[in-house]
Amino acid sequence: MHPLSAYIEGIGLLGPGLADWPAGQAVLGGREPYQPHKTVLPPPALLPAAERRRSCAIVKLTLATGLEAIAAAGLDAAKLPSVFSSSGGDGENCHIICEMLASNDRQISPTRFHNSVHNVAAGYWSIATGAMSSSSVLSAFDASFGAGLLEALSQVVVDDTRTVLLACDTPYPEPLYSARPIPDALGIALVLAPQRSAQALAQITVSLTDAGADQLDDGALESLRTAIPAARGLPLLRAIALRQDKHVVLDYLDSTRLTVAIAPC
């Protein structure tokens, strides 16, 4: 049995009031107040023009956070395996398809259809970065961050490879919003490595636990944590922002959660 352990070499973050990892680090570390405002998704500059036109919110969110993490780690995205984890695919695209299928004109467009797959972000990611290595594409509803972290760590320790975890969620419009009220887009990306390197930020070691998940002190951040599946990873980012040598408990399934031992490098 291997300890599920890896070094974090780069972090990407984008969400409401969290413009990137440096900004998020200041907020989570308590150096700046949290000021919520709507997530601004940058245009996906890396995609060819045709794909850029067809891309949707979850593609933009994934590219922004993943490329931030990989740039911070000083790595080439084309060479990295990847793990995409999200509760659902693109919310807006799903709504438009369901609306059309309930209408008299069911002829959804080819782009709508291929953007409907859960792995839409993974597909555009490999086109944008040229990455031909393995890509795991997961969902575990509210446990999606934890499921992605476990998958990424098992890649690192078993296959002895670096990988990038991309945990991203986007909102549905009404009427699906009422059934699945994810308030805004939020993504966390982590580059994980099996060996310590000069750019390593922290070593993390993960195991299953029955303990309750850690909460965030700031009320607005805590409501993000519980409302957006990817934001279940924020307590880990807070500990890294504070450079704390500590354990955090991340939310996972109703039957089990994840203890993460964090040792800053």
Binding site: S87, V117, I127, S134, L176
Partner: protein, 397 residues
């Protein structure tokens, strides 16, 4: 990798419920495709519908999960003593030591498609009986399976379109090798819905006839539905000669296009080569290739190029999508079970519906069933987004 044992497996598709019916249908060259009469769909296409899905009743404590995909999942789980095997594994390993890794592409989205027809005319709200989490959400089928068995270990859905239920074997292998779990329920469930029927139609990828993989005149897929499962355990010291082992897995991405394969099958080639490498086998040691073989012009051409590059032209191969239809997120699981049956019964299934092999594809594509010893096989699953996965299975002897 250390070989993993498929201690139990089962498949339910339009050609039958469970292994006996599936094997009998293949031996009799009986397909499950019929003109589409699903729901209100008005498309000239053939589908592989599983009979009796709507009669399946979920247990009383799981009625929130009631949707076509989970009904089909339960129908599949209760064939061939599979559920009993999972319960025996729980008694052996413990409920937290068994992971759930299931593939699906569309989950229970049909439930949402139907709910959108019943929106409140004034507010636009979905009807009050609509439950998103346990039906539509991508995770729903794995959540259903873990609750059905009372499993408390890691659980996840892999949703990478038509490679989903091949890639579940990769995730399960890694988590078993990491020591987080001792066994895994793997597989895939995908069910008919309007999104895929109208979606593939919009791409011009559905045939108006039963699909004809590798035929010179092939002109598109027939969509099917299926539930396929395997229980993965570490290989014990003593195994029956006909026990089925997973020897290797290869995964890759095309980095080319969202809905067209790399024209030279580059990603497919990498997946097959990596699976062989992990298994420690030469291409010549593979007796049969279960092709992805969807019957679109470009998919079959790209796959044939990739297979020729890795194996040459002489390895027996076929696609079973002419029988089952393309079961999308369940296709990898169905392929794994068909390979396991082939290994145990010394049987290679012919591809159905194909009348005139496309000479440009240049493979030993089976148009007749073959009965012969089968020791090692490879199964391909490729999907939208350029996702590829190949699996190598072998008999224990």
């Amino acid at each position: 990798m250390n070989p993993l044992w498929l201690s139990h497996f089962t498949a339910t598709s339009s050609i039958g419920r469970g292994l006996d019916q599936t094997l009998a249908a293949m031996r009799q060259r009986r397909g499950g495709l019929a003109p589409c009469a699903f729901d209100t769909v008005d498309l000239a296409t053939f589908i592989g519908e599983v009979a009796g899905v709507d009669a399946v009743q979920l247990p009383a404590h799981l009625t929130d999960f009631n949707c076509r995909n989970n009904r089909l999942a339960l129908l599949g789980l209760t064939q061939d003593g599979f559920a009993e095997a999972v319960r025996a594994a729980i008694a052996k390993y413990g409920a937290q030591r068994i992971g759930v890794f299931l593939g699906t592409s569309t989950s229970g989205i049909l439930q949402t498609e139907l709910a959108y027809r019943r929106r409140d005319p004034v507010t636009g709200a979905l009807p009050p009986d609509f439950i998103y989490r346990t039906t539509h959400n991508t995770f729903s089928v794995a959540d259903f399976a873990r609750r059905y068995f009372g499993l408390t270990g890691p659980a996840v859905v892999v949703s990478s379109a038509c490679s989903s239920s091949a890639k579940v074997f990769a995730s399960a292998r890694r988590m078993m090798a990491a020591g987080l779990i001792d066994a895994a329920v793997v597989g895939g469930v995908d069910s008919l819905c309007l999104t895929t029927l109208y979606g593939f139609n919009s791409l011009g990828l559905t045939s108006e006839r039963p699909c004809r993989p590798f035929d010179a005149q092939r002109n598109g897929i027939s969509i099917g539905e299926a539930a396929a499962f395997a229980l993965l355990e570490r290989t014990p010291e003593h195994l029956d000669a006909d026990a089925v082992l997973l020897l290797g897995i290869g995964e890759s991405s095309d980095a080319y296009h969202m809905s067209s394969p790399h024209p030279d099958g580059l990603g497919a080639r990498m997946a097959m080569q990596d699976a062989l490498k992990m298994a420690g086998l030469k291409p010549s040691e593979i007796d049969y290739i279960h092709l992805h073989g969807t019957a679109t012009q470009s998919n079959d051409a790209a796959e044939a190029k990739a297979v020729r590059t890795v194996f040459g032209a002489d390895t027996a191969c076929s696609s079973t999508k002419g029988a089952t239809g393309h079961t999308l997120g369940a296709a990898g699981g169905v392929g794994a079970v068909i390979c396991a049956l082939g290994l145990q019964h010394g049987f290679l299934p012919a591809g159905l519906n194909t009348e005139q092999l496309d000479p440009a594809l240049g493979l030993d594509y089976l148009l007749q069933n073959r009965t012969q010893p089968v020791a090692r096989v490879l199964s391909n699953s490729f999907g939208f987004g350029g996702t590829n996965c190949s699996l190598v299975f072998a008999r224990a002897d």
